[in-house]
Each structure stands twice: as C-alpha cells, then as structure tokens.
C-alpha cells in the first residue's frame, strides 16, 4: 500500500543568495506517529539536504525545535502531522531574526536570560561545613512551575510586544527572574529590582497572555510578569514602609 503523504511548506531563507524568505513545498510520507520534526528530518535526509533547522532531544526537553507551525509557536517534536488538515506550514519562530531557514538568532534572547542573574544569590553565606541550604516542599512549591522553563523561545514568538520592541525583557527572562526571587534560599531580589522595574522590564507587557497559552511546559510567564507589575508598583508607592518578611513566611 502506498503511504499517505502531506505537503509541508517551509519558509526558506539562504542569506548568501536570497534577499527575502520564500515558501518551498515538500511531499512527506506520514503515519499517525510522524511528528513535524520527523517530517523535517525526512526532508533533510531524503529530499533536500540544504534545509537548516535546530533540533536535539525529540522529547520536549531540550527546547531546540521551536518553530511557527501552522502559524502558531510550537515544538516540532510535540506536534504531529496528523493534527493538521491539509498543508502544514513551518516557519522560523516569529519575532526572532532569521539566521537561515528555520534557524533564528538567539543571541539577544540569551543575553536577556543572563541579565536577570538567574542563579541563587544566597540569602545568608554558609560554609560547606554548615550543610546544605534547606527548603520545605511548601517553599519549593512557590517557584516550582517557573523552574520548568526550557528556554525554547515559544513565548517570545507569541508576544507581540517582543516583536514591536526588541528591548523588552520578555516573558521567559521575567519568569526566570521571578523563579529566583520566589526562592526562599535566594537573597538577590534587590540586585534584580532595577531591571524588572524598568519600562522594558515588566511595563512593556500589555497582558496579551499568549505567552502562557503556548508554553509547552505549562509555565505561566504572564503571571510572573503581572505579579511583578504589582510588586513594582508597591515598591514605588510604599518604598518608605517596612519591608515584608522572609519569602515563604505566613502572609
């Protein structure tokens, strides 16, 4: 029996010969378990070796294969050809510059992630002899979902503010900042404050909320951004009042 095929249209861009991107169509045989990533690999291996795209783990862990699939930001390994009636379009992630074909320039995204100081700045310095920094399950539950980010960039492709103003810190970086600020072991909130309170920090967000809707790991960056708008406003208006207690304390 001849296998059924599907048309996969890919937005190509070869900087050494193209002035702008163009659509190229491929016929790909598929079954129920054929992911879009498997289709791209079929194209690369069997039809057109010049096609460029990033991928690695094939199981929604590495965050490499984010593309605009049928116009929406999705992971190619987590999307299946069977889900799309008719032709499937695959385009590089929106709001990122296209380096080549489906490969985008991530430099600015990585720089934003680095700027939020995404590491534990211990609340109290301890020597190894004093033992580990301990945390209760309840304290961990405050930030756990924000720690699930895999840096795939889908939320940046979903955020029109990122596209309109590339200086905006963006959903993933703010979610990561929030993750460390919420950590009971961390004391770096003050060091991150100037960045988050700036206009290109939380205040460029207009609460579209699509970032949280497209996240493949159920992170809620929109919540991280909007909670920090409140924190920032409270910090401005009540800056002369006593500080709240330790994170995780009874409110």
């Amino acid at each position: 029996m001849k296998p059924q095929t599907k048309t996969v249209a890919v937005l190509r861009y070869r900087p050494e010969q193209d002035t702008e991107p163009f659509w190229q169509e491929y016929e790909v045989p598929f079954a129920d378990d054929t992911s879009v990533l498997a289709a791209l690999n079929y194209i690369k291996d069997e039809l057109d070796g010049t096609l460029s795209f990033r991928w690695s783990c094939r199981q929604a862990i590495c965050g490499s294969c984010g593309f605009m699939i049928a116009g929406k930001p999705r992971l190619a390994c987590k999307s299946f050809l069977r889900e799309f009636p008719g032709k499937v379009t695959v385009e590089a992630l929106a709001h990122f510059p296209i380096e080549r074909d489906l490969v985008v320039v991530m430099d600015d995204f990585i720089a934003k992630i680095e700027r939020v100081k995404p590491w534990l700045m211990p609340r109290e310095e301890r020597s190894p002899d004093a033992g580990e920094y301990r945390q209760t399950p309840q304290e961990m539950s405050l930030y756990e979902q924000f720690a699930g980010c895999i840096n795939c960039g889908l939320c940046y492709a979903a955020c029109p503010q990122v596209g309109l103003n590339p200086d905006f810190l963006g959903p993933a970086a703010i979610a990561l900042l929030h993750r460390y600020n919420l950590d009971s072991r961390d004391g770096g909130s003050e060091a991150r404050k100037q960045l988050i309170n700036a206009e290109v920090g939380v205040f460029n967000c207009t609460a579209v909320g699509y970032c949280s809707a497209v996240c493949p790991k159920m992170v809620d960056p929109a919540n991280a951004v909007n909670v920090n708008k409140m924190n920032s406003a409270r910090d401005y208006f009540f800056r002369f009042l006593p500080r709240p207690g330790n994170k995780g304390d009874c409110q």
Partner: protein, 135 residues
C-alpha cells in the same frame, strides 16, 4: 567577509495574524465603551447638579431611541469586557492558596464573574427600590 545577514520580518498588521490577537484587540477595544459609559454617567451627574431642567433633559436623552440603542450596545460591550477581564484574572494576580493547595484559575474567574453578577443585581434592586420611593 561575514556571510551572516539575519532577516528581520516586519510586524505590519500583527494583530490579524492569530485569532488570539484578534480576540485580545477586541476585549481591549471594548474598554472604549467603558469610557463612553463613564462619560454618560458623568454627564448625568453634572445635569443633576445643574438643576431640574438639566436633569429632565438628561432623562429625555436616556429615553431617546438612538441613545437607548447606544446604551444597549454599551451594555453588551461592557459584559464582554467584564467576562474577558475575569477570564484573564488568574494570569494577572498572585496565586491564591487555600491551605497548601493552589486555587485553580477557573475557580477564580468563576468567583469574579459571580461577584460581578451579584454586585449588578444588588445595584439593580437598590435602584428599583429607590425608584419606588424608598428611603
């Protein structure tokens, strides 16, 4: 020579690219009707302060068919604005916890909508009571 030549795609008409963005523009756009209704309320208050003739003029405006149609449209838009506002509420407020458990978003949205209905009903009953000569 550097062969890199990253291509930046334009953002023209981004709001039409995805149904999610169209709905976002729609629910943000209905805020204009909230503003219009606030203006109308303010005009009513000013008329009340100016005296009986001005107040009767305001009442006549409210009874005028085009104004009634406009207010009907404003009511529909305000309902849409209110409902969508409560739908995105769980994304905009800090997580609510009961004991150790986090309250699901749909419960927060539902509670908000119920509060909206209850407040509107209380206002309607109070207004009807005043109109009947209460106090």
């Amino acid at each position: 020579m550097n062969a890199r030549r990253p291509y930046i795609r334009p953002m023209t008409r981004w709001y039409l690219r995805d149904p999610f963005f169209i709905e976002y523009m729609a629910h943000e756009g209905t805020a204009v009707f909230v503003w219009l209704f606030a203006l109308e309320l303010l005009a009513g208050l000013v008329c009340l302060a100016l005296g009986e003739a001005a107040w009767n003029g305001f009442l006549a405006w409210l009874g005028w068919l085009p104004a009634r149609l406009a207010n009907g449209l404003i009511l529909l838009m305000l309902l849409y604005h209110g409902i969508t506002w409560f739908l995105i509420l769980p994304r905009t407020i800090p997580p609510v916890r009961v004991g150790h458990a986090r309250v699901p978003g749909w419960v927060l949205s539902g509670a908000g909508m119920l509060a909206m209905v209850a407040a509107s009903a209380a206002l309607a009953v109070g207004a009807a009571w005043l109109a009947q000569g209460g106090l």
